[in-house]
Symmetry: C2
Subunit: 383 residues, 2 copies
Amino acid sequence: MQVLVMGAGQLARMMALAGAPLNVQVLAYDVNTDTVLHPVTQQQFPLTLAQAVAQADVVSSEFEHIPYPVQDICQQSGKFFPNSTAIKAGGDRRQEKQLLDAAGVANAGYRIVTTEAEFLAAIAALGLPLVLKSALAGYDGKGQWRLKRTEDAAAIWADIASFMADADHTLPQAIVAEQFVRFDREVSLVGARNAKGDTVVYPLTENHHVDGVLAVSLAIPAQQQLQQQAKQMFDAVAARLDYVGVLALEFFQVGDQLLVNEIAPRVHNSGHWTQQGSDTCQFENHLRAVCGLPLGSTALVRPTVMVNILGEDQVDPAILALPSCHLHWYGKGKRAGRKMGHINICGNSVAELAERFVALAQLLPAAQFPEVAEVAAKLQQQA
Amino acid sequence: MQVLVMGAGQLARMMALAGAPLNVQVLAYDVNTDTVLHPVTQQQFPLTLAQAVAQADVVSSEFEHIPYPVQDICQQSGKFFPNSTAIKAGGDRRQEKQLLDAAGVANAGYRIVTTEAEFLAAIAALGLPLVLKSALAGYDGKGQWRLKRTEDAAAIWADIASFMADADHTLPQAIVAEQFVRFDREVSLVGARNAKGDTVVYPLTENHHVDGVLAVSLAIPAQQQLQQQAKQMFDAVAARLDYVGVLALEFFQVGDQLLVNEIAPRVHNSGHWTQQGSDTCQFENHLRAVCGLPLGSTALVRPTVMVNILGEDQVDPAILALPSCHLHWYGKGKRAGRKMGHINICGNSVAELAERFVALAQLLPAAQFPEVAEVAAKLQQQA
């Protein structure tokens, strides 16, 4: 079986590694270079997109910012999972917010803003503070602003207007103005849905971001009530999209309530811990879902922490001497801030995990791994 | 880092899959076709063996029947792990028996036989029954005979003589005549040794063979005394060979005593369960050892069973709906008796594993999977 993935980054790479044992061959289409390649070896294949789509048994995706003409080719093949509606909802915050409302899942109050008048109206309607997010191509903290005080509105609008003017989009840009949520934690739920509508979800993961980029994910046994709440929202969103594949929901937790912050119609960075900590990793479950194979168990086998490696192509090899510590490099060239790889570390209990995580943090320079030591120390206090 | 593996079969393939996350690129040299290729994608590289060896950081092996001239090229590179002495001991039962004696580990009494006179002398010295094994190129039950009664000696010698005459070897063939061991179980120990001499071993695995070919391996918590005994033998053999990489020892268990049956200087079929059941799989640990990275934990995370898929390129996909059941296909063309893939299934306890294993066995046709149902039933009785 052959699966063609839109996007040729680390997610396609990890799908290819998870697919090989299932005899699922994963090829990747790099939308930037218009080439078809193997996402592990980088071997190129002399295929056009149309030829690669025709040849594949299944077409899937590793990211949501796929140009619409490319999505159209995928969608018209009748074998694009998840479908283009889901991908577009992940790539456009307007559609995402409408989806969340339509699915009836809690999310922060918002207004769509394209003019200064709408911006001012949003401030009046929603109050301050506000988070302003570009509807298109905003991710990992880019294209986001915070407005805390009325007197900053003009300056921030100038910045936003400049961003919108500069943006090189074939689609009309807009801003989603959202009520700032004073959350207690950021958590996410990764799960899979198959074509029959069955769903499985992993345990809720606690995420720590630095400058809008995921730094650490903790997968430890989740509170039952929160897990159920998240699962209900997952099912509602996935059903609404007639979703097939792995889907991630990112939440703000406020007290014991979850609000959906955003969705990712794909395998997700906050699910990388599943490679060591769960029975079936998210990459395998995505392929199982899109290839029509039974979904695999999402049970937490061992409490696990994932630490992102950003902008570095080396870490102290001594980390591999820590029990249950595993490295996952993406084989990418070094660039500041780039997601280069991640580290998974497990324990047989949360206490053991915390102890190992503290030991790991001591081997990771704080400058390159901000907040890791703090998150480790906090986990140890809790455990 | 690049590792060139002698042999391009499933073991090199699984090394490549385990190596990618470590940024270890595995290429394979197919000794039959004299080609260098990627063992997952089969992409060929226009390299001679000498060029591929020169380009690689490390040279390793997935099998022991490597032609000596090829081994010489590898050994002369100064980066061949495990070394040629170890590979040759695995590929020649004469050297293997001498190694076991030199390492002082218990093994069945034997004589080397090349003539009928030596054959008769071996019968007189060792008694009956005897197992007769070709020194070279005998594996998976091929090139083996059993002599139970004196009156069959002439007929069996005729067969052996014919086998030795037919054998197309550049090296002198011989027969190892071995005392038949009335064993209670067959078990194996897979472990890794690094260049500094550190060793780690996985839990002792119980193996079930059908017609000399491994059918099922059970990895459940081992008896401490047996595990220690096996570990001592592993350390003695590995030290004697100045071994670097993963090494497997196969044992006969007689009461609470272990006798080494044979060694395999490589990752081993009876260690495939480590992909799901252990912290670090044998393929990753082999690469860690040969690349000078810290060895990974060999802890049993969950009791696990491995079932070989022989001669079949399909199994009922419903097995993937069983909790903790994982398929590992090798991407090979179907051929009777060929190792095509394996199934790993885990449980959180031996009892849970046994229950799942029985459910798995019910989905595997007995004709294609002989003894699987029996082994599952026996495990359930024990659990």
